[in-house]
């Protein structure tokens, strides 16, 4: 393992100062929050920077507050541990706490932030190796190499979107704010992501993600499951989040999202369509689960742990499990360990 290279380091105390510094040379500057993704990536030379700006000195970027409409606003540098232990999150957005708690280990959750999780670099078995290893295969497209080792005839990179808070926040219809020297813009979180392993965010390099907002609770039910080899540390090879709003007997609105199955979070459009206006029961769940793999972008390839075929099959089982949990049906499945 190489050590960190030499770079300039700033720790501004206001958003304004940070955006100004960032605007100076966005292409060669990187932001760091908890650093649990950026520092290892810089050590392995996945990412290089002349300048690193830490967001940790900006007080207004951290903390959880209630919004005027009864929702919750989470500052970008709020740690994963703070979110998982927040009482309001625990009460009204429990599945978010479950998702956040499934990330790595307590140590990483103590320093890793929600902003960093949303902006997390995409991942791939051929990419998340040390520099010497990558050099000996002449790198790949995501870096300076020519081809994609996972799909050699493919013109694009398929590295995997792996932030575990992403699917559940998308399902909840969360919004984010991006701020640059020129002003702020608000967009649905789902629009932050692009289906490209290299250029995976629609955020401009001169923008800082400042906040993610959850809508006010309105009687919805939600659940989150994550599949991986071990019960901690490991990144997911599939995460499933569902949030459903049922006024009476039938489902008014439901969102089902998958993570870690492609370069972008995936909305299970057909499963959702199959459930709207129907009661959630054994039959409708089975039907919706069987349609989940059709979600556009759900294309497990051989670039994570486990065989892609198996991961593909698991989508149905895990979507069914999540919907069952949401509907309060018995589990009948070996649950992931973070579930407890």
């Amino acid at each position: 393992m190489l050590r960190l290279p030499v770079f300039g380091f700033y720790q501004p105390s206001t958003i304004e100062e940070a955006t100004r510094l960032l605007a100076e040379n966005p292409a060669s500057t990187r932001l760091v929050a908890g650093g649990t993704d950026l520092w290892p990536n810089m050590k392995r030379r996945h990412q290089v920077a002349e300048t690193v700006i830490s967001l940790r000195g900006i007080a207004e970027l951290t903390g959880i507050r209630e919004t005027s409409d009864g929702g919750l606003a989470i500052g970008a540098t709020t740690t994963l541990a703070a979110i998982a232990s927040d009482l309001r999150v625990g009460e009204s957005y429990r599945a978010l706490a479950t998702a956040v708690n499934s990330i790595s280990s307590p140590l990483v959750r103590n320093s890793g932030t929600i902003g960093g999780n949303l902006c997390l670099d995409t991942r791939c078995t051929y990419y998340n190796q040390n520099e010497e290893w990558r050099r000996s295969i002449d790198y790949c497209m995501k870096e300076v190499g020519e081809i994609c080792w996972v799909a050699p005839s493919s013109p694009r990179c398929w590295a995997v979107s792996s932030g575990d808070s992403v699917p559940i926040l998308c399902a909840w219809g969360a919004e984010i704010t991006l701020v640059s020297k020129d002003g702020a813009r608000t967009l649905p979180l789902a629009e932050l992501f692009r289906d490209d392993g290299i250029d995976y965010l629609s955020k401009r390099p001169d923008e800082i993600l400042t906040e993610v907002r959850l809508p006010a609770p309105s009687g919805e039910r939600a659940a989150f499951w994550k599949l991986r080899r071990r019960g901690s540390i490991d990144f997911g090879v599939l995460s499933v989040a569902a949030v459903g709003w049922c006024g009476g007997e039938t489902t008014d609105r439901i969102e089902i999202w998958l993570g870690s199955v492609g370069s972008t979070p995936v909305r299970c459009d057909e499963s959702i369509a199959a459930l709207i206006g129907k009661p959630i029961d054994e039959d409708t769940i089975a039907e919706a689960a069987a349609l989940a793999r059709k979600g556009e972008g759900a294309s497990p390839l051989g670039n994570t742990d486990f065989l892609p075929q198996w991961r593909g099959k698991m989508i149905e089982h895990y979507v069914a499990a999540v919907l069952r949990e949401m509907a309060g049906l018995p589990r009948e499945r070996l649950a992931p360990r973070h579930q407890r």
Partner: protein
């Protein structure tokens, strides 16, 4: 001269008398009912605080003044010959202090796996060393390669070895050769083959007579040691003498290796220091090429050098447990007696063929055995001894055969084992394991639901009473200070603590009152931590040294106070007279005329003892999702015997560690080789999956306290045995849960689903 005496041996409430010959100068073993204050208590390990507060100095932490950094250039090719190496650019780089090449140092111009050492550099910083390594230009003759056992055994496979080295070699029964590595002696081989044929026939006849005949083919993976502290050294020369801080499990082994006049280093005097080591699991007996290069770089640079492997190097080049392919057949009589057993097995230890055997023919009485074993060369990093070398893989296969054998004659698996087992300790362990795991509790099993449960059993065996060649020094100072010294290392098993405990017991002192010194070859000779023999080798010498020091101190007291010596003893910090405390230990020391009583005692030979082997039985309970194929180990009951327990908590820790590693071996750990590039795909701890705390099952440890009587401390080592049975017990439990056998570890969801897919067509029962 030896003294014959009667001792009590046994365990629980069953002891028998045994007449043994106690070697001259030794003291009799602990006896049931002996008044012991320390031995048998769960003292907190002496290095606990240092380790958790970070003050313990590991090799990585050593920073002699002027330290510079070593780095190794490794082959990117799986099989190559080195035509030439140009180090001129690297040498010219500012800050580079020394450059060495493998052909020069080891007279080896081959690179037979991706990761083989090619050259090494020492420089003022790690960054410069790294840059210099990249500047070395190597001209390789790149050859075709095999990185899996199947590729290597295939017809027309590329040759891994050089010269007359075949890819596959029969290692047992071994062919006689005219000289080492030379041609096979044809006559001897012909008669060997004839004998093997005979054996085959005998066993075939017994199979024909058997009521149940079962057959299976089993595979196990390559497991790396993955100690948290990687291999490496910090070397500092003083003229021709070498001071080597080494991450070691054999300080004296390192010393011999680096000091040998026939070796490339050939230091005049070597002092090895290893106060703390972050795990070895069998891979740190030798200083290895990294140690040799570290020492030579330091000599050439004229500065102390740190050469520690990084994680990738550790995973590819610092050893592993070989894989195995085992084809087994067992014949069972109607009453459950095993009549005959056949083994054909293959394993790859890397580019050689030795050391990849699987112990699949031990533990039970297996009747007539016909075993032939082969070593297979592959272009992969070499094996090193790994916690119970050969046993976990062999027992994984053997114990499944035991289950299949039981089934073939309609016996309960545990009953079947008992019927073929006469170990005096293990036979008492089965029922305990059975009860603690709830063997007979009703469960949804056999694949009858989405989530099923199952239980499995497996046994282990070990031979670790320790032996001679160790000395311990005890010093009692006039100011009351006590030192206990041995130069061997404590690889985490608690050697330092138990050594202190047995000596302190003799001196009647609390453990905190003695200072223990370990891991410095200036102190008396100690064993390498192998074969779980460390405790059995060191504690008898430590106890004897403590005893002799006590006698010497009491002689002083007797003389100065005019008390009859045979009335005196040491207990609870006091000299006792007829059992009553009469003088504090410190006051007694004050009576000494000399400054110090110094005693050096040797480990004496073993006596007959109760049992030459120690035993264990493990039961596992698992939960399996038959749709996703996921497996969870819920609980493991480990019944273990470590002879006389010096410190039950430390013993229990060994069992927990072994079981955890065994569960990881059963479900997770696996070296993955890329057959196109010939490299290891997962040389890091993110992709090489070790068992984590969350995945660790509940482990219930049941320890037997056995007065084994093989040495004066009666102890048997426990480092290795607990890992032997775990994977086998887990595999048997999975088979119980899903109703079909899993014949390959690690047990991944894919394998479970495939096995379920096979169900019905193959229940593992053939030839009945």
């Amino acid at each position: 001269m030896t003294e014959e005496m009667k001792i009590k041996v046994g365990f629980g409430d069953t002891f028998r008398e045994l007449t043994v010959r106690i070697p001259d100068g030794d003291i009799p073993p602990y006896q049931p009912g002996d008044p012991l204050d320390l031995v048998g208590t769960s003292e907190i390990r002496l290095d606990a605080v240092a380790k958790v507060t970070g003050t313990a100095e590991f090799t990585y932490d050593r920073q002699p003044k002027g330290l510079i950094y070593g780095k190794i250039l490794r082959s990117p090719h799986a099989n190559a010959n080195i035509r030439s190496i140009d180090v001129s650019q690297a040498r010219a780089l500012e800050g580079v202090r020394a450059v060495l090449t493998t052909p020069d140092v080891f007279e080896d111009s081959t690179a037979r796996y991706a990761g083989a050492e090619i050259a090494a550099v020492a420089a003022d910083s790690e960054a410069i060393a790294d840059e210099a390594v990249r500047m070395i230009e190597v001209d390789y003759e790149v050859l075709p390669f095999c990185v899996t056992i199947d590729d290597s055994m295939a017809e027309g496979a590329p040759k891994v070895g050089r010269g007359n080295q075949e890819n596959v070699d029969r290692v047992s029964p071994r062919a006689r050769r005219r000289r080492r590595g030379g041609e096979i002696n044809a006559d001897a081989e012909a008669s060997m083959v004839a004998r093997m044929k005979e054996r085959e026939k005998t066993v075939d006849k017994l199979f024909a007579k058997s009521k149940g005949v079962v057959e299976g083919e089993f595979r196990t993976q390559v497991q790396t040691h993955a100690p948290l502290e990687t291999h490496g050294v910090v070397c500092d020369w003083d003229g021709k003498n070498l001071l080597c801080y080494g991450s070691s499990q054999a300080t004296f082994g390192f010393k011999r290796e680096l000091g040998s006049s026939r070796g490339p280093v050939g230091a005049k005097d070597v002092r090895v220091i290893c106060e703390y080591v972050g795990g070895g699991f069998g891979s740190k007996f030798s200083a290895g090429r990294e140690g040799v290069l570290g020492a030579m770089l330091a000599r050439e640079a004229g500065k102390p050098v740190r050469l520690m492997l990084d994680r990738k190097e550790e995973q590819t080049s610092a050893g592993n447990r070989p894989d195995s392919l085992q084809k087994l057949k067992m014949g069972v009589a109607a009453d459950g007696t095993i009549l005959a057993y056949r083994v054909r097995s293959w394993g790859t230890p890397g580019t050689g063929t030795g050391g990849a055997g699987a112990h699949n023919d031990g533990i039970y009485n297996l009747g007539e055995i016909d075993k032939v074993e082969y070593g297979v060369r592959t272009n992969c990093g070499g094996a090193r001894a790994h916690r119970a070398p050969g046993w976990p893989q062999g027992v994984f296969a053997l114990e499944q055969m035991m289950d299949m054998g039981a089934q073939s004659v309609g016996l309960d698996p545990i009953e079947f084992r008992k019927r073929n087992d006469d170990h005096p300790i293990r036979t008492a362990q089965y029922d305990i394991a059975r009860e603690k795991i709830g063997w007979d509790r009703p469960r949804v099993r056999g694949g009858a639901a989405t989530v099923c449960r199952g239980v499995g059993v497996a046994s282990n065996l070990w031979f670790s009473a320790g032996g001679r060649g160790t000395q311990v020094m005890v010093r009692v100072h006039k100011d009351g200070q006590v030192e206990v010294r041995n130069g061997a290392q404590d690889i985490g098993t608690g050697t330092r603590t138990v050594m202190g405990m047995v000596a302190a017991e003799e001196l009647g002192l609390p453990l905190a009152r003695v200072r223990t010194f370990i891991g410095d070859t200036r102190d008396p000779q100690g064993p390498g931590s192998g074969g779980s023999t460390t405790i059995g080798s060191i504690t008898p010498a430590a106890r004897l040294a403590g005893y002799v020091a006590k006698q010497r101190l009491l002689e002083v007291v007797a003389a100065r106070k005019n008390w009859p010596i045979d009335q005196l003893g040491l207990r609870r910090g006091h000299v006792t007279r007829s059992g009553d405390p009469v003088l504090s230990f410190d006051a007694a020391c004050q009576l000494m005329e000399e400054d110090v009583i110094e005693v050096l005692e040797s480990r004496k030979a073993n006596y007959a003892g109760f049992s030459d082997t120690n035993a264990g039985v493990q039961c596992a309970e698992v939960e399996v999702d038959t749709e996703t194929g996921e497996v969870r180990v819920i609980k493991v009951v480990a019944v273990a015997d470590a002879g006389k327990l010096i410190n039950p908590m430390l013993a229990e820790s060994q069992v927990r560690g072994g079981v955890s590693q065994g569960v990881g071996y059963a479900l997770l750990e696996r070296r993955i080789m890329d057959s196109q590039e010939g490299r290891m795909v997962n040389p890091n701890l993110e992709m090489y999956k070790l068992l984590g705390a969350v995945d660790c099952p509940e482990i219930e440890v049941v320890l037997f306290d056995v007065y084994n009587g093989k040495s004066n401390t009666s102890v048997m080592g426990l480092g290795e045995p607990p890992i032997v049975a775990t994977a086998a017990a887990v595999a048997n439990a999975v088979s119980d849960a899903i109703g079909v056998r899993i014949t390959e570890i690690p047990i991944t969801p894919r394998k479970v689903l495939e096995a379920l897919g096979r169900k019905g067509s193959d229940t593992g029962k053939k030839g009945e």
